[in-house]
């Protein structure tokens, strides 16, 4: 089995690319709509649309979102390479979670911070950009690293739209050798260390956040 390992490396690179491009895009989208959600008053169109979007993403299985991207986009005249269909599907999914992550992080920032920046003569946008977001992003990072683990694993489902990522490459190898179980173990052995790394990073970020907040508590 070890001799097929080199053939899984280019697909592994596809897995990593599709996961991290989606993570990056979802992070930006999440940050933008998450902060809009926190700034604006409860009932406005942006809030309602965002809530609806998050609701769709969180309440439907990812495999359906992937099929939808693959089959519905051509219907509206968007014909993309299957890699970018994968990016869109994963971004669509992950942005739903990222909006929730950034909304939670931003609203966890102490109200006093807003008041202090208001006292300094900042309007809501500059206080958001210079005061609130730098703190909120730090709090978002552990959850975002978790999201990276989730995306790397979820990218295997992109095999259903024939994107040649790690899992699909292994399926193709099975079609020739019929060695199903061996390839299953081999795939797991490749996914495992990568996801382990991202979880480890999430852990470190989590701990760093905690130790910092205790320091602040001590100063208080």
């Amino acid at each position: 089995m070890a001799e097929v390992f080199p053939r899984l490396l280019p697909p592994l690179w596809v897995t990593i690319k599709v996961s991290f491009i989606s993570l990056f895009l979802a992070f930006i989208i999440g940050l933008f709509f998450g902060s809009l959600n926190c700034i604006s008053s409860k009932f406005n169109p942006i809030n309602i649309i965002t809530r609806f979007y998050v609701w769709i993403v969180l309440c439907t299985p990812i495999i359906i979102q992937i099929y939808a991207a693959y089959l519905l986009l051509p219907k509206v005249g968007i014909k993309l390479d299957v890699f970018w269909v994968g990016v869109i599907a994963l971004t669509f999914n992950s942005a739903g979670y990222q909006i929730e992550i950034s909304r939670a992080s931003i609203s966890s920032i102490d109200k006093g911070q807003y008041e202090a920046s208001k006292t300094l003569g900042m309007n809501i946008f500059s206080s958001m950009i210079y005061i609130i977001l730098p703190q909120a992003i730090k709090r978002m990072l552990p959850a975002t690293a978790n999201e990276a683990s989730h995306l790397i694993k979820a990218s295997s489902i992109l095999s259903v739209i024939a994107l040649l990522e790690l899992h699909k490459a292994a399926i193709n190898l099975q079609g020739n050798s019929f060695k199903f179980i061996e390839l299953l173990v081999l795939q797991a052995m490749i996914y495992l260390p990568i996801v382990l790394c991202t979880s480890y990073i999430a852990n470190i970020l989590q701990k760093r956040n905690q130790s910092k907040s205790t320091k602040i508590d001590l100063i208080k």
């Binding site: 089959l71 014909k79 179980i181």
Partner: protein, 268 residues
């Protein structure tokens, strides 16, 4: 007035029909859809190259039309939808011509025999499709064998153990049979024989009945692209008469099926 509009409509539709072949010729290539992992029709060989009967046939047709043959891997259960969405010009992926599929696509003249078979473990005691009574049966997702299992049960008045399971990949089905989750798996004869070669514990039985017609492997085209289909039909006919198709079949299946292939495309 009516005649004029009819003529205009005919002219217009004529130009649409002429489109697909011209498009292929001007692009210098045709793109065909398939799903990798259907040995010996299309699979990755040990060096990671896509090879198989379909690949050789497509190259030969490309050579005859003077264009390049480009394959596009896709999901088999949505393959027709993806062709209509513009993913590829035709399906050339070991597709069995069936009445259900014919409602959506037009078929080329057959280029391979697609007789169904059942694979079972040698020690299962199953030697005929009537032995499937009370057994766990399965077939590939979106394949005609799924329907045939049902027809077979109705015809022989037998019932299977539980629902007929459908698998996305043949390799998973074989593994499921090794672990006794299923007793029998129906697919095309040639692909089952290919697997049985690698494992002595399996044996392949014929799965034929008057309830379903003799089956053929054809290429599938959209209903609009009939000019492209006819160009492919001509190429297949030429390959049949000059022995090229027989040679490719002997290379991949160990024998030639050309003499039994009908010369007209399957319709219903």
């Amino acid at each position: 007035m009516k005649t004029i509009s009819l003529i205009i409509a005919l002219l217009f539709s004529g130009s649409v029909f002429a489109g697909a072949l011209d498009d292929v010729k001007s692009a210098g290539k045709f793109v065909f859809g398939l799903e990798v992992g259907y040995k010996p029709f299309e699979y990755m060989d040990d060096s990671g190259k896509l090879v198989g009967y379909d690949i050789d046939v497509s190259k030969e047709i490309g050579r005859r039309l003077g264009v390049e043959a480009v394959h596009q891997d896709t999901n088999w259960s949505t393959v027709i939808q993806t062709m209509y969405d513009g993913g590829f010009d035709l399906i050339l992926g070991g597709m069995t011509a069936t009445e259900k599929r014919f409602q959506k696509v037009n078929f080329s003249i057959p280029y391979m025999n697609a007789a169904s078979g059942i694979i079972v473990m040698k020690d299962s005691g199953i030697s005929d499709r009537s032995d499937l009574d009370g057994k766990k049966v399965s077939a590939g997702a979106g394949t005609p064998q799924l329907d045939q299992l049902k027809m077979s049960a109705d015809e022989l008045n037998i019932s299977y153990d539980g629902d007929t399971k459908s698998y996305d990949s043949d390799a998973v089905a074989y593994e499921a049979m090794r672990s006794k989750r299923i007793d029998a798996y129906a697919s095309t004869m040639v692909s089952l024989l290919e697997f049985a070669k690698t494992d002595d514990n399996f044996t392949v039985l014929s799965f034929a009945s008057d309830k379903w017609s003799q089956e053929w492997t054809s290429m599938a085209f959209t209903k609009e692209d009939d000019d492209l289909r006819m160009a492919f039909d001509d190429a297949i006919r030429a390959m049949k008469s000059d022995g090229t198709l027989a040679k490719i079949q002997e290379n991949w299946f160990g024998q030639s099926f050309v003499d039994a292939l009908p010369d007209t495309s399957p319709t219903w």
